[in-house]
């Protein structure tokens, strides 16, 4: 917000120190300085605004707003005030107020280019497209510069994009935009590349592909120079849309001759080829084949084209490209799909893949390349294929244990590739337990042998043999899933810890460790692992779920708060940030980026993960704080929770999780597929619905608890806490039906299943139903609720970690159950608090006698509630003691001949789990203790 203009205005000089204080983050001094200045110069409005910025930044939003409005109503036209107000409104997340500001300014100074342009940008920030269109034209009339005209055109395109009615877009907004550009074209006023781009965008959206093609290929198209191959790419896209397969084919041919490694053009070449064959296309009698030159319209032409590409590669001495070889496999696939016998002319896939391996087997991507063509092999070829490849791997003489090792990193990479392919073909999964253990032994040997090649690797580099270690960990997991033997999981964890100790930057080790620890219910080690991934910004959305999904339910409340905060901070800055760059895109004429940025902002705003952390964070705050450090209604108010309003747009939720971030070489039938992703999204959405309804119901209870006298009705509606019984009723019935839905739905989903089987969901529902019963003066009590709670507590009993017959077992779901128990206790307490507040006045009422009985019962219930909590606390205490006493070191891992070094890493993993359980118990215990204390102060 610093210096502007060169002419020294005395006011600028006076304001300078305040700007400096604000820039340096010294808000207090800025406020003082502004006060000082205002004493002398009452009319220096800008000083007021700067003071307001200081107030805003010291969390005095209300004061700041009032002060700002004092200036805003004067409709200032001085630069300083306008800019300062703009900054302030943006920080207040009130960009719509900036538009009002500049509307007034241009009314007063109608010829100001600057204010008009600010007004346009202010509209852009809030997406007022129609007003942008007008503002752009007004600006162009004052100063006839092309960019202003095209801002207006782009605003029409945005109206088209955002219109609910597609017909309106196609018949009104876009044609109007087209005519506006055509006018400029006719007058030969087109100047910039951006203007041609915009013209192209409009024609494309109108489906006028022929016209678009004319533009790209005509003189206007000559302006498209920034992007490489801009005209070619655009033509290609249009040929496809127009189904001009001859041109499409000829152009992809040309582009492939230029760059025989660009995969997209092979695909287009094949697509167009087969379309032409299907159409029985023949070249014209005379003249060229097509506007783009020679066309291939027969399989034989394609075969010879491919052979030429490969011959060219073969003739090269080094730096062979992979494209032509893989394209040949792709062509075989397509010919086979069409049952063309010519497929055989290209060769046998097994042989071709072998040749590819000989050429590129020492590249780490060889597995990724070949993986997608494995289905060209018949199942009975698999063994032969792997054996064939193995012959091409140079290994030394087998050692004592029968394992032969590679002599250098290239040989290692080749061997690794064969191993990865073997896993991808399902050969590892087909092994029995003994076979798998043997495989693990071999993989470990390769891993450790390979470490010698990476002795000089920097901390930031990976070890050459890391992937062996990762694969061995995967095979352990296979064994664990098959046999349910926890030892396998311990070994897997130990091995990964070992791997990490040699290769501290390996993200794959960290990710898998993180997932396994969570599966075991141990969240404590996860915090460090995740932070060492150094995930930032957008990664909080794409991989943040790894953290937030488990923290709270495993009873690590402090870590849960923190991880939710990471994500929330990112999401909250998004809205403000992206709007600024929409504006930038107008300034630089990057018109095609504008809808892209807006779609991006929406994708983040509607992120499932965002909704999850928002909801969980509020629930967590309530469970941890409400009625402990401040009353429930204060907590609810401070998070501006409005029970009547659903802040989640359920139909537009976006799943931005990167579920493929973990590497795996599983065979196709075990890979993550679209169906898994869809189910996972449905499960998560269902759970979110339960949580969100619970949250809103707590808000309702809080609103009911308010003694009506203490609040004036106006304020209550303003805060949105004036929950009526009707909204309580409707939310309850939603919760009930979602629970019913969940019960039918949960064979796979762990979180919902654990929650349901713990009984907490039902109990929370019944407790939340109580206020309703009370309002209807039905006889209802906490009695049955207590029984249910007791039942939940029973389900929490047992040892989370146990050593029996020198085998360790974990029952981490007990931790989750404890957390649900505590959550339920919180809700029961809040509801009881409300019930008491309703019943107390009745005591002195006419039905004194009748109610006395009820009161007496309430006392009973508070006693039994107290004893329930005591029982739970005792249970946790005893768990803590036995867990501390647990000596995992004495554990011998049966059936495993672990070396001492291996044992150390496994032990390390076990210690981490043990320590994490203990910490969870402590955190849960502390919270419960606090709840027990509030129960005492609750004068029931």
């Amino acid at each position: 917000m610093a210096a502007r203009g060169h002419v020294q205005d005395p006011n600028d000089r006076r304001l300078r120190p305040i700007y400096d204080y604000l820039d340096n983050g010294n808000n207090k001094m800025a406020i003082q300085q502004a006060d000082k200045l205002l004493k002398k110069h009452k009319d220096l409005h800008c000083a007021k605004v700067l003071k307001a910025i200081g107030l805003q930044r010291t969390a005095k939003q209300d004061e700041a707003f009032t002060l700002a409005q004092e200036v805003a109503v004067l409709e200032p036209t001085d630069d300083n005030s306008l800019q300062a107000l703009t900054i302030l409104y943006r920080e207040m997340h009130r960009p719509e107020l900036v538009t009002k500001l500049y509307e007034a300014a241009v009314r007063k100074v109608p010829t100001s280019e600057e204010y008009h342009s600010h007004l346009f940008m202010a509209y852009a920030r809030v997406g007022e497209y129609k007003k942008m269109q007008q503002a752009g034209m007004a600006l162009y009339k004052i100063v006839p510069k092309n960019p202003y005209y095209f801002w207006s055109v782009m605003s029409l395109v945005m109206q088209a994009i955002s219109a609910q009615d597609e017909k309106l877009s196609q018949t009104m907004f876009l044609p109007l935009a087209e005519r506006m550009v055509e006018k400029m074209v006719k007058e030969e006023k087109i100047e910039a590349e951006a203007e041609v781009q915009l013209y192209f965008m409009i024609l494309e959206r109108l489906g006028k592909y022929v016209e678009a093609l004319e533009v790209v290929q005509g003189p206007l198209g000559e302006k498209l120079t920034s992007e490489l191959q801009s005209r070619e790419n655009k033509c290609m896209m249009l040929y496809r849309r127009l189904e001009r397969w001859a041109e499409c084919n000829a152009l992809s041919c040309k582009l492939l001759l230029k760059n025989p490694d660009d995969w997209q053009f092979y695909l287009l070449y094949f697509d167009s080829l087969f379309h032409l064959i299907d159409q029985s296309w023949t070249p014209p009698q005379e003249g060229t084949h097509s506007a783009e030159g020679e066309v291939h319209a027969s399989i034989s032409q394609a075969l010879s084209f491919m052979e030429d590409r490969i011959a060219t590669e073969e003739a090269k001495e080094s730096k062979h490209l992979r494209g032509p070889y893989l394209a040949r496999l792709e062509l075989i696939r397509r010919l086979r799909e069409r049952s063309c016998p010519e497929a055989q002319q290209l060769g046998e896939p097994l042989e071709l893949m072998f040749q590819f391996f000989v050429k590129f087997g020492d590249k780490p991507c060889c597995i990724t390349d070949l993986k997608i063509f494995l289905d060209l092999l018949t199942p009975d070829q698999h063994v032969q294929f792997i054996n064939r490849l193995m012959e091409a791997v140079p290994l030394g003489a087998p050692g004592e244990d029968g394992v032969a090792f590679p002599g250098d990193t290239r040989a290692l990479q080749r061997h690794l590739c064969v191993t990865q392919l073997s896993r991808s073909l399902g050969q590892q999964h087909a092994l029995n337990t003994q076979g798998k253990l043997g495989l693990i032994k071999e993989l470990k040997a390769h891993y450790r042998h390979g470490l010698q090649f990476g002795k000089s690797c920097l901390k930031t580099e990976l070890q050459f043999s890391d992937m062996y270690c990762l694969m061995a960990a995967h095979v352990y997991i296979d064994l664990w899933l098959e046999t349910s033997e926890l030892n396998m999981l311990w070994q897997s964890l130990g091995l990964l810890e070992e791997g990490l100790s040699h290769s501290s930057s390996n993200a794959q080790f960290k990710l898998l460790l993180l997932l396994l620890y969570c599966r075991l219910g141990a969240f404590e080690p996860v915090v460090d692992l995740y932070s060492s991934l150094d995930a930032k910004h957008v990664q909080h959305d794409t991989i943040g779920y790894l953290l937030t999904r488990y923290a709270e339910s495993l009873g690590q409340f402090a870590a849960a708060s923190q991880s939710c905060n990471f994500s929330l901070r990112f999401f909250h800055s998004n809205q403000k940030d992206t709007s600024e760059y929409v504006i930038q895109a107008y300034k630089y004429g990057a018109f095609e980026k504008i809808p892209e940025f807006i779609a991006f902002r929406n994708r983040l705003d509607h992120s499932l993960h965002f909704a999850q952390v928002r909801t969980e964070r509020m629930l967590l705050d309530l469970f941890l704080e409400a009625d402990i450090s401040s009353p429930l209604e204060e907590s609810v108010k401070s998070m501006s929770l409005c029970p009547e309003e659903d802040d989640i747009l359920w139909d537009s939720l976006r799943d931005n999780r990167d579920l493929t971030v973990l590497v795996s070489w599983n065979p196709k039938d075990r890979q993550l597929n679209a169906e898994h992703k869809q189910r996972s999204l449905e499960d998560d959405t269902l759970w979110l619905r339960l949580r969100s309804l619970t949250l809103r119901l707590i808000g309702c209870v809080s609103a009911l608890t308010h003694p009506p006298a203490s609040r004036n009705s106006e304020k209550r509606t303003e805060n949105g806490v004036a929950a009526k019984p009707s909204s309580l009723r409707s939310l309850l019935s939603q919760l009930e039906s979602t629970l019913n839905q969940a019960t039918q739905f949960t064979e796979k989903q762990l979180q919902v299943r654990t929650a349901l089987s713990s009984g907490c969901c039902q109990c929370q529902l019944s407790s939340l139903q109580l206020p309703l019963h009370l309002q209807e003066l039905e006889a209802a009590g906490l009695g049955s609720l207590l029984h249910t709670s007791l039942y939940i507590l029973e389900k929490c009993k047992g040892d989370p970690l146990e050593v029996k017959d020198s085998q360790s077992t974990t029952q981490h779901f007990l931790l989750e159950n404890l957390v649900y128990f505590v959550e339920t206790v919180c809700i029961v307490l809040w509801v009881s608090n409300y019930c008491v507040s309703v019943l107390r006045p009745l005591k002195s009422s006419l039905q004194k006698k009748k109610k006395k009985k009820k009161e007496a019962r309430n006392v009973d219930q508070s006693f039994s509630l107290q004893s329930l909590l005591n029982q739970a606390l005792e249970h946790i205490k005893s768990q803590e003691i036995s867990l501390t006493a647990l000596k995992l070191g004495a554990l011998s891992l049966e059936g495993q001949t672990q070396s001492e070094a291996e044992g150390t890493f496994t032990k390390m993993a076990m210690d981490k789990v043990q320590s994490s359980y203990l910490r969870s118990l402590q955190e849960i215990g502390e919270l419960l203790k606090k709840r027990a204390d509030t129960l005492k102060s609750l004068k029931i």
Binding site: E227, W263, P364, D369, I372, L458, V538, A590, E596, D658
Partner: protein
């Protein structure tokens, strides 16, 4: 075998396999959007046939034309571990150089950690030379000392006498560079 195309916002959701590398910085959203808004042609991503992102380059054009300092700048270049040793970085650099040629730049420059020998050697192979050392350019967060950067340059055809790459005799401070 790579599809080379313009980087879009949606790629930010898919670039974890590249950015989980310890030397690759994940910037805040504004940083990426600034580049996409201002220099979209300079932000190119390589995609494997299976849809995995292989690597990307992000750059810009800057500097004064009148002082013969108009040039292309490489802001970020990263390739996922499994797609290394394929010459992909060289391909992406070549594209950035060509765009800079078209814009009439005098040279292309980039900053690299002095310790990142792999990268320094690769740039040397691609024709870049050390123009100057920038002292303590990379700030360290964990108590370690700040690290120096090499400012490496390669002359483009417009700089016929290759004046832009004559090495400076003395290192400079970060505040002295434009």
């Amino acid at each position: 075998m790579t599809t080379l195309r313009a980087f879009t916002c949606d790629d930010l959701f898919k670039f974890n396999n590249i950015n989980l590398d310890p030397l690759t910085e994940t910037y805040g959203i504004p940083f990426y959007l600034q580049y996409l808004a201002h220099w979209p042609e300079y932000f190119i991503v390589a995609e494997a046939p299976g849809g995995e992102l292989m690597g990307y380059i992000m750059g810009k054009a800057e500097g004064s034309v009148t002082r013969d300092e108009w040039h292309g700048h490489v802001t970020a270049l990263s390739v996922a571990p499994e797609f290394r040793r394929l010459g992909l970085a060289a391909k992406l650099m070549e594209m950035l150089e060509e765009i800079s040629e078209r814009k009439g730049g005098f040279f292309v420059d980039l900053f690299v950690r002095v310790s990142n020998q792999v990268a320094v050697n690769m740039y040397k192979q691609l024709g870049y030379s050390v123009y100057r050392t920038v002292l303590e350019y990379y700030s360290a967060s964990n108590g370690e000392p700040d690290e120096d950067a090499y400012d490496m340059r390669k002359a483009l055809s417009r700089d016929t006498e290759k004046k832009s790459i004559i090495p400076l005799p003395h290192p400079v401070r970060p505040e002295d560079i434009e």
